[in-house]
């Protein structure tokens, strides 16, 4: 129904769409239009965007099970790499702008604060996924090993949503919703795996 061609043609458009917010926020940051606490604001925006993109890759994987949408996986790599791009911006903001490269403080912070520990581990998990995202890497590792490696997206997603959940002071509904979506998608994948194909269809 939805041919690969349609998806392929919309790729550049989606690329720009996801790239655009980062350019806008940096532009606003430089021009002093990000409110009165711009460092906090840009860090939050980058982080939230990264989490949403991570979840989007999971949604794509699940939707791709439906035959008509199979070709949607063509976006997955790009969106996954964008998630890594936003996480990197988020992490760099924390290191350079929030703490001004005060490594002693940062290392203590990462070890001592569970929510920062979770965020940091999630970032570490995403590095091998980004590094092995090319076709040649899939070949090199072999598809099965590559696939197994990329299951790391699930713990990374759970840790990122916990990171968000734990930093909020009182209104935890938004992070709770993200957590719920991730858990549902994970359960769906597990269900798909253990249920014989014939029964599932």
């Amino acid at each position: 129904m939805f041919s690969k061609k349609i998806f392929d043609h919309s790729k550049p458009f989606i690329f720009l769409l996801i790239l655009f917010p980062s350019i806008l926020w940096v532009y606003q940051f430089i021009n002093g239009n990000l409110g009165v606490n711009p460092i906090e604001r840009i860090m939050d925006e980058f982080g939230l965007m990264a989490l949403r993109l991570i979840i989007l890759t999971l949604v794509i994987s699940s939707i791709a099970h439906i035959k008509a949408f199979k070709s949607i996986t063509t976006f997955r790599r790009m969106i996954g790499l964008f998630a890594f791009y936003y996480v990197s911006l988020h992490f760099s903001t924390y290191i350079f702008l929030d703490h001004f490269l005060d490594l002693q403080f940062i290392i203590k912070d990462i070890i001592k604060r569970p929510f920062i520990t979770f965020g940091f581990i999630s970032f570490l998990f995403l590095i091998p996924l980004a590094v092995t995202s090319t076709n040649s890497m899939v070949k090199k590792l072999g598809f099965n090993l590559w696939k197994k490696l990329h299951y790391l997206i699930y713990p990374a997603a759970i840790l990122s949503s916990m990171h968000f959940y734990m930093l909020v002071r009182a209104n935890k509904s938004e992070p709770a919703i993200y957590m719920g979506i991730i858990i549902l998608l994970l359960l769906y994948r597990v269900f798909k795996k253990i249920t014989p194909r014939q029964l599932a269809r």
Binding site: V36, N37, I39, D98, R113, R169, A170, N171
Partner: protein
């Protein structure tokens, strides 16, 4: 004592408000493109400079009124500014009850006619590790306590924020158990630094900052400085307070600014002063040690955070 009678100045509200009205007219006439609702407030900030500590700089009216926590209007720091337009603080009265000679309700006007309004420029340190310097107008809480005539058995005071979910959209959500409550020990309440503020930058208290009357306790984290107060209770034991009830392992009754006692989820050793790029070291008692450290000489501040 640094900030005392020598620094008392007359209330500048009427004066500044006139300026504001004039300013608004002028900008309305000049009209259009670059109109900013806040421009007028920055005209004469120099009158507050004499109260500033060496390393401090005033935050702007815009910063103070567009970025703060007031969960009654929503949990984001821009929500109080965006969602407080329907709040009507007039007329206002404060109910006084508990261990007092005679429980009674004071009209705000009556209270204001009995007190001396002063300028108080204080640092405000939020528990979330950001801070500002704010020129408040207000009067010492001790003056109202005298009017209330507490019994000698009163050892604590509890404050209660107004509950009006129809005007305060945040109160329709169960983020906090409404109404918001806070408390002080009697000696903290009587300390000359503790004020009830009715204005900032020479203006009546904006809705988003706790109109028409709020507490300001500058050596404690901002959440202690309860806003839009409608009731004050005198008690013989430590009152329940909102954040402590919600998460006692994170927020204590005392909530003194203390760089040595971290919030379980983040460090309190540094803070971002709004408007500054690099973080600052957080000062013990937010820099008011001289005035308040004696209150806690027998208290283990790690245990009673």
């Amino acid at each position: 004592m640094k900030i005392l009678s020598s620094e008392i100045t007359p209330y500048k509200t009427y004066l500044n408000r006139r300026k504001f009205i004039k300013g608004s007219l002028a900008s309305a006439l000049l009209a259009t493109v670059s109109f900013s609702a806040f421009a007028n407030h920055d005209n004469d900030t120099s009158i507050y400079n004499k109260y500033l500590s060496e390393n401090d700089k005033l935050n702007s009216y815009e910063e103070i009124t567009t970025y703060n926590n007031f969960y009654e209007f929503g949990t984001h720091k821009k929500h109080p500014h965006l969602n407080s337009g329907n709040f009507n603080p007039n007329p206002w009265s404060i109910k006084i009850d508990g261990l007092v000679k005679k429980p009674q309700t004071f009209d705000l006007e009556k209270i204001l006619s009995n007190v001396t309004i002063e300028d108080r420029v204080y640092r405000l340190r939020c528990v979330e590790a950001w801070s500002m310097v704010i020129p408040w107008q207000g009067f010492q809480l001790s003056e109202l306590i005298k009017m209330a005539e507490p019994l000698s058995s009163a050892k604590y005071i509890q404050f209660v924020t107004v509950f009006r979910p129809e005007e305060m959209p945040g109160q329709n959500k169960r983020t906090i158990i409404w109404p918001y409550r806070e408390g002080l020990r009697m000696d903290e309440a009587m300390n000359p630094l503790t004020i009830l503020a009715t204005g900032l930058y020479g203006h009546e208290m904006p809705n988003q900052n706790g109109a028409p009357i709020r507490l300001v306790v500058p050596w404690k984290y901002g959440f202690k400085s309860i806003k839009s107060i409608v009731e004050i209770r005198f008690l013989d034991k430590q009152p329940e307070t909102s954040w402590e009830t919600l998460a006692p392992w994170e927020y204590g009754f005392y909530a003194n600014v203390n760089p040595g006692v971290d919030h379980p989820r983040w460090s309190q050793s540094t803070e971002r002063r709004i408007g500054e790029f690099k973080r600052r070291e957080t000062l013990m008692f937010n820099g008011y040690q001289e005035e308040v450290a004696h209150l806690y000489k027998d208290l283990d501040l790690k245990k009673f955070y």
